[in-house]
């Protein structure tokens, strides 16, 4: 187990080097000059040169990468060209917001998918199962930004129940629990619906598989109560693939919430990356991509650990 974990952790830096190299090359290969975008067309050549020099942009590509990664190893992700702030402090400001949004979306996904998946499996081919199928198909089909706009129209504009923005503002953080939660609701639903669909479908099918196993008949033959049979005997087995998938999806969410953050004006990683891409803010793009990738890798390792934790037959 620990050896396996060690092996997996050793792989992490290797993967991150490859990711960073690719990000680096893609940013340099796309047209657009950060300095020119930053300073505008009318700036003097000297000023532009000075700025290039400051951010090492006058050096050759291998040199640029070597200088950057040398700093990264020491925990320094460089400075934003546009904002002139260290990328790490930008990260410290943005990352918690993104994590909160991802966590609330995942909470929504779990809250819906666990009961829905279980009931759909238990009442197979009933109206509730068909409802569940319809919901998952819709969840797969609708893009999150489309859903976001519909939710905004219905719940914010027509009904005026929930605010559109407000995540990360001073009032939100200093208010009570409800004030804190309220602005998360619509973004969480918009962001988490796809995961809800994925997880519901997964739980339904693994639950159906488990229910047909011989040990379920044994459980019934013991005269156990239905709640014990479903929760202890069935769900504990069916949760193994579910938890693994949920962990992977959580890592994935940090990376895909760009549009949602943009729509709801969330000051998170996604909107920061989007701005950085528009402005060709290379250090921010590279630093944030690195952190998002690290999260994804971490989520995958967590998924494997959960797997071993839940299934006594798995030993790494």
């Amino acid at each position: 187990m620990w050896r396996y974990l060690g092996r997996r952790l050793i792989q992490v830096p290797l993967v991150l080097v490859v990711v960073s190299l690719m990000t680096f090359l893609i940013t340099r290969a796309t047209p657009g000059d950060p300095v020119q975008i930053m300073l505008g067309m009318q700036t003097s050549k000297e000023a532009a040169e000075a700025m290039r020099k400051e951010f090492n942009l006058d050096r050759s590509l291998p040199e640029q990468y070597a200088l950057w990664i040398g700093k990264v190893v020491q925990g320094d992700l460089g400075r934003s060209i546009r904002l002139n702030d260290p990328v790490t402090s930008l990260l410290a400001e943005r990352l918690p917001v993104s994590l909160q949004l991802a966590a609330s979306a995942m909470a929504f996904a779990l809250l819906v998918s666990i009961p829905l998946g279980v009931i759909a499996a238990l009442r197979r081919n009933s109206w509730i199962d068909y409802l569940c199928t319809g919901y998952t198909v819709a969840g797969f089909a609708i893009p999150n930004f489309g859903l976001a706009l519909i939710l905004i129209y219905v719940f914010s504009i027509q009904l005026d129940w929930l605010p559109i923005t407000g995540i990360g503002t001073a009032e939100q953080v200093s208010g009570g629990l409800w004030t804190y939660i309220k602005p998360f609701i619509i973004p969480a639903i918009a962001l988490g619906t796809l995961q809800t669909a994925i997880l519901t479908r997964l739980l339904r099918s693994s639950m159906i598989d488990v229910l047909s196993q011989d040990y379920m008949r044994t459980a019934r033959a013991k005269g156990l109560l239905p709640a014990t049979i479903i929760v202890v005997h069935a769900l504990k087995n069916a949760m193994i693939p579910f938890v693994t998938m949920a962990a992977i999806q959580f890592g994935y969410m940090i990376g895909i919430q760009v549009t949602i953050e943009y729509i709801f004006a969330v000051p998170g990683m996604g909107s920061a990356v989007l701005n950085a891409v528009v402005n060709r803010d290379f250090p921010v793009i590279q630093g944030f991509t690195l952190v998002i990738s690290a999260f994804f890798l971490f989520a995958n390792i967590m998924a494997d650990l959960f797997y071993a934790l839940l299934d006594p037959r798995i030993r790494y």
């Binding site: 011989d214 033959a221 013991k222 109560l225």
Partner: protein, 323 residues
């Protein structure tokens, strides 16, 4: 009064192609402390009979009816599902064919054993644990205390079946149903499990229904045998009587296709030709007739009635094999 009384048990399943009559009018009594064998080939209705008695047939698609089905005077078919749960695992218990898959892979042996004790005997955690250790020792599992924390995959097939037996006997049931309990095991392990069941049955006076397609296993264990074919009991007899004077064409066929250890039978095994009948269509004559080697002209004319061939020996056959 017999421990278990079954009269005209019928279990049907609704399928897309029609109603399957899996059990079609089974009647028998099981006395206190008796070991009854239920033999027959796959699809003869042995397992469905057992599941019907245990009230484990899913309804729908299944439908269980009987003129009477009583355990110690309790009408099993009149019980609500909640009342049936109280009896299952306590007054009647069942062990299944494949011990590899009958235990829950993600729960410890201790958990799977103690949960029955806590449910039916309302034992506390420590009392249930102590009892579980005793039970594991009873069924011959060494280092029982340590093994409580183990998972099923850490046990061999024979050991798992011992655990299943411990679970089934944990609440001292009056009736134990074993459905092909040794079929998936090695022959040496089979013998051990049979000895174990025999010993526990004698010690506790439990009545046992032993389901098997293997006449040899049944011969070593049972007092009496019901031979089943196409959802019916076609012959019932005390074990010696059955082997000495098989009185149904199907029983004769079964014996001809079973190897004998004592070498007294013919060296060559004779398979029963053909396939068992489709249980969707009504069967007006003897269901075994198309495959029978000893049929008489009367078989073509009328369905066979139940006839007595000796003390406690009945068969639904028109050919007078015993004479």
């Amino acid at each position: 009064m017999p421990l278990l009384s079954v009269r005209n048990l019928q279990t049907r399943f609704a399928t897309d192609r029609g109603i399957v009559r899996a059990v079609n009018g089974v009647s028998f009594d099981l006395e206190e402390g008796e070991v009854l064998g239920l033999v027959g080939e796959s699809g003869s209705g042995k397992s469905v009979t057992a599941l019907s008695i245990m009230r484990l047939v899913p309804e729908p698609p299944g439908k269980v009816t009987a003129d009477s089905l009583t355990l110690e005077g309790t009408d099993l078919l009149r019980l609500s599902e909640a009342d049936a749960r109280e009896i299952r695992g306590s007054r009647m218990a069942m062990i299944f064919q494949d011990p590899m898959r009958s235990l829950n892979p993600v729960l410890t042996i201790g958990r799977q054993l103690t949960e029955v004790l806590r449910r039916h005997q309302k034992l506390s955690g420590t009392a249930a644990r102590r009892r579980a250790i005793e039970l594991l020792e009873t069924v011959g599992i060494p280092m029982a205390e340590k093994r409580l924390a183990a998972y099923p995959h850490q046990f061999s097939g024979g050991m798992r079946q011992r655990v299943m037996i411990a679970i089934a006997l944990s609440c001292n049931p009056r009736l134990l149903i074993a459905d092909e309990a040794t079929t998936a095991l090695d022959v040496t392990i089979q013998a051990q499990i049979i000895d174990l069941v025999k010993r526990l049955q004698r010690e506790r006076g439990t009545s046992v229904i032993w389901i098997s397609h293997d006449l040899g296993v049944v011969a070593g264990l049972c007092d009496r045998v019901n031979v089943m074919y196409a959802g019916n009991v076609v012959e019932t007899a005390p074990i010696r009587e059955l082997f000495h004077r098989p009185s149904h064409g199907y029983t004769l066929g079964l014996m001809g296709s079973t190897p004998r250890v004592d070498g007294s039978g013919t060296a060559r095994l004779t398979p029963i030709e053909g396939m068992p009948p489709n249980l969707i269509d009504p069967i007006p004559l003897c269901p075994f007739l198309p495959r029978c080697r000893v049929s008489v002209p009367a078989c073509q004319a009328r369905p066979p009635e139940r006839r007595e061939f000796g003390v406690g020996h009945w068969a639904s056959c028109l050919a007078d094999l015993a004479k």
